[in-house]
Symmetry: C2
Subunit: 257 residues, 2 copies
DNA sequence: CCCGCTGGTTCCCCACGCGGGAACAGGTTT
DNA sequence: AAACCTGTTCCCGCGTGGGGAACCAGCGGG
């Protein structure tokens, strides 16, 4: 209707995109009104209005006076989504234990859309807080989790992901070329665990181990901490042991779904 | 296109409804293929296909081989949604404490779309498991939480909700008429807490107390347990004290957002 | 008190996007 | 190799969704 210049990467439905852009806007600001959304998303008020009405009807959105916000129904969806992943309970348990033992941040993540998505996160005693949290996404090439998962993906999927990735440097250590990434993958494949040495956040190091089931990679576990505690020795000795042990436990207890 | 018989309760967007029916289907079954969805939802494969493609593009859905399933991005949304509610942390803390003290199930719920939606749930030691969980919805007239929240809503909203409700009897104790419900509301208003005496699930009793902020009702806290432990005395003495105390703490620590 | 402003809601029209059917492409089974 | 599965693509026609403007309701200030 408005976008003839856009064309043929397979059909995509405009109204649905609008609907989700509304949801997205409602999510990032905590609720909003019709006019505000109309301005922000550059659509007529009537358009926004009928979308909001639809979403309200579907109970994904609630109206409180003149403000619309997302409904708690999302929480229910999240529960389901979590349950459909391998054995979430085991993952939660082991990640928590790992954070506890080490005192650092422990996380579990999987690959989606060529990025890492965190499924669970636990903070130990001395954990430095990072921005990332459950459901958040991070670049696959700049995280121990991502690179580790990548390594154990089927080769064609690796290529697919890598070729679709734009490398942006988060720190001076960030991997910024496919070649280096492929090298890194090889290294990880050999030694069995992945390392992020301040590649995503300055001062932060991470170690990650893969979780596999039937030769298929499910995700990876990691611990993250400040360079000061993640010394050169620990990072190649003690810490890999921790994460691989956790990964193994998860593997064993995960009845592949 | 297919539904001329349907008409004018305000405009509602068909494509969006389809998109969400797909999401819903993906949620309840853990992923599905195009054909399966097409049959189930009674749409052509091509329709489903372009919707799935759109959702995939938007990263709400991931394709794994020939199966589509919801992405973990939902988890991120859920986090946001939770945070936008009053002070979730306090609620969590108090509900957990309540479950701990009493050994039973403690819950916090709010009203949405004329129903109760659970925001948090904690199980104590001896807790009997109920089906309900976070994000789930229950009828407002058949739960202690619901009736309690209802009581403190503005009168016009009460009428609105009540007149829109269909009463279905879950047990022989279920309130099934607006009149009785209004009576119950009055009772709750007087004594300050609500009771569900096997009105939703046989054998299960609940006690709930309102959480208000600036005279506006935010939600309610409840504990649920078997009739055997929730005796006639306790249910009007000890248990109300527990829940009102928890409710008060939440009230005090909730900086209204 | 009224008038201008805010915001949400409704109405209607028109073009174009979307849903559907059918044809296509791959893979697996018989 | 033919019959069947999938998922995917193509194309067409119609009804629907997006936009603009008109319409309200509430608010505040001149």
């Amino acid at each position: 209707m408005t976008q003839p210049p856009e064309s043929r990467p397979g059909r995509t439905i405009r109204s649905v995109e609008i609907a989700f852009s509304i949801i997205d806007a409602l999510e990032r600001r905590d609720g909003a009104g019709v006019t505000e959304l109309a301005d922000r998303l550059d659509h007529s008020k009537s358009t926004i209005h009928s979308h909001l009405r639809t979403l309200e009807e579907l109970e994904y959105v609630v109206r409180k006076g003149d403000e619309y916000r997302l409904s708690l129904q999302i929480l229910g969806m999240a529960e389901h989504v979590r349950d459909q992943v391998g054995n979430y309970d085991v993952i939660e348990e082991e990640v928590d234990a790992l954070a506890d033992e080490t005192g650092e941040i422990a996380q579990f993540g999987i690959e989606e859309h060529g990025q890492v998505t965190y499924l669970h996160k636990a903070s130990g005693e001395q954990a430095v807080e990072t921005a990332s949290s459950v459901g958040a996404q991070q670049p696959i090439y700049a995280t121990a989790l991502g690179k580790t998962i990548l390594t154990f993906l089927p080769p064609e999927r690796i290529d697919e992901i890598v070729s679709a990735t734009e490398f942006v440097a988060h720190t001076s250590h960030t991997i910024t070329s496919p070649e280096k990434l492929y090298d890194e993958i090889e290294t990880i494949a050999e030694r069995g665990y992945g390392i992020d040495d301040e590649e995503n956040i300055a001062g932060l190091r991470c170690v990650a181990a893969p979780v596999k089931s039937e030769s298929e990679i499910l995700g990876a576990v990691s611990i993250s901490g400040p360079k000061s505690r993640f010394t050169d020795d620990r990072i190649h000795d003690e810490l890999p042991e921790f994460v691989t042990r956790a990964a193994n436990v998860i593997e064993l207890n995960t009845k592949f779904s």
